[in-house]
């Protein structure tokens, strides 16, 4: 039965070697040295509510990356790895040019999943493992994933990462954050916009202050916390006094051309207006 339903087994951490943090830092430096080409950006208006049936009219979470402030130091990548227990990639993977990093540098600017409101990856996922939340997150349900990699093939910006190796057994994974489960071999993963933080924040508020509408105010993703230049701003696009809207109001917003008409929640900021 464990064999048949192996997909539901927990990663067995006993005895597996756990990498040092230094190794993660080294890999981030390596990834920075192999940064991908810059996106061809096009200007877009500020994201509004999702136009999907059943979408939330209160919350749509997203981020804005300030291209003027960012100097591509890569601290966000490391922070993301530690928040989300992202494993190191094996030698073979690196040679194939693949890292598990959810954030990658594209021409000196960080790029993660853009959480498209009309996400192509979700349309083609056969099992429904990739699905959307009403508040604008493109989530990944690891236990439901069968690893067909259709989503990866259909992501225009290649934000999706596939667990080619069993990172736990290989001693490449480290559970920095007990709140986030480790992913098993053969599963797709990508930036979750720190879903766990959103969930915890929401649940605590709804339990202790019932009746108060949850707008996710005061919340930050790991990358935006870690950014020394404060170039990554997380917030709620539908909340006028969220730092995101406050900042994005008088900036020009850009997204990669490939996804310009897919209504992304994560955008780049450049120049003032």
């Amino acid at each position: 039965m464990q064999v048949l339903w192996g997909c539901r087994r927990l990663p067995d951490l006993s005895g597996a070697k756990v990498p040092e943090i230094a190794e993660f830092e080294r890999e981030v430096r390596l990834a920075l040295s192999r940064a991908k080409g810059a996106f061809d950006l096009v200007q877009v208006p500020m994201p509004g509510a999702l136009d999907v049936h059943g979408a939330s009219s209160l919350n749509r979470f997203g981020m804005a990356i300030d291209l003027d402030a960012c100097d591509g130091c890569g601290k966000c990548i490391l922070a993301c790895m530690q928040e989300n227990n992202i494993p190191l990639s094996s030698k073979g993977e690196r040679d194939a040019g693949r890292f598990m990093h959810w954030i990658e540098m594209h021409g000196g600017a960080p790029a993660m999943c853009f959480h498209c409101g009309n996400a192509p990856c979700e349309k083609v996922c056969p099992t429904g493992a990739a699905s959307h939340t009403p508040d604008g997150l493109s989530t990944m349900m690891y236990k439901r994933c069968t690893g067909s990699r259709f989503c990866g093939a259909n992501c225009p910006v290649g934000a999706r990462k596939f667990n080619y190796v069993d990172s736990v057994k290989e001693g490449l994974a480290r559970k920095f954050n007990p709140e986030v489960p480790l992913r098993s071999k053969g599963v797709m993963e990508k930036c979750s916009l720190c879903l766990q933080r959103l969930q915890d924040h929401k649940h605590t508020q709804m339990a202790t202050r019932p009746g108060v509408e949850w707008r996710g105010s005061g919340l930050k993703t790991a990358c935006s916390e870690a950014c020394p230049k404060n170039a990554i701003i997380f917030g709620n696009w539908l909340d006028q006094d969220s730092p995101l809207v406050q900042e994005a109001k008088h900036r020009n917003l850009y997204v990669p051309r490939e996804i310009a008409n897919l209504d992304p929640s994560v955008v780049y900021m450049r120049g003032r207006r």
Partner: protein
Amino acid sequence: MKYLMAGLLALLCGFFLADFLFRQQASEVKTPGNIPFDHALHGDSIGLDCSHCHTGVTYQAHAYLPSKTDCMDCHRLPLTENPGIEKLDSALSRAEEFPWVHKRVLPEHVVFHHGLHFAAGVQCSDCHGSTEKIQKNRYGGERFTMQSCLDCHSGKTFEGRGFKKAAIHCGACHR
């Protein structure tokens, strides 16, 4: 004809057998120590609610279990004329500081916040059964399945209780 019947029979039997074998199993965890704990004695009968011992249940993700001190709050004095009581008290005094420690039955990729559900008006007994039902010395006799969660979230169960329909998208409870 008889083969047809046999085939149909095999089909049905196979289905139910496999369903029985592969269904979500009840995970039962024994509590350490040989203190048979009877929820019925500690519940409404003496006007205590679950949160007295499971202190997190009303407002936190985990319900938590009482420490030895919590038990001793009441058991400092012999509480009843029941002859067994000395045995209990001595057992308690010998017990380690945290007598009740058990493995979480919730899978790691599932999020469940007790306080949230308490705030929504869900009673402990709705999922865990009434204090009379809960087995002695057992935990998790209940069969928690995703289906039971979904049924309540999509308003199929507990019609009378006036719960709001809750989210059923994956991201609501899974990470």
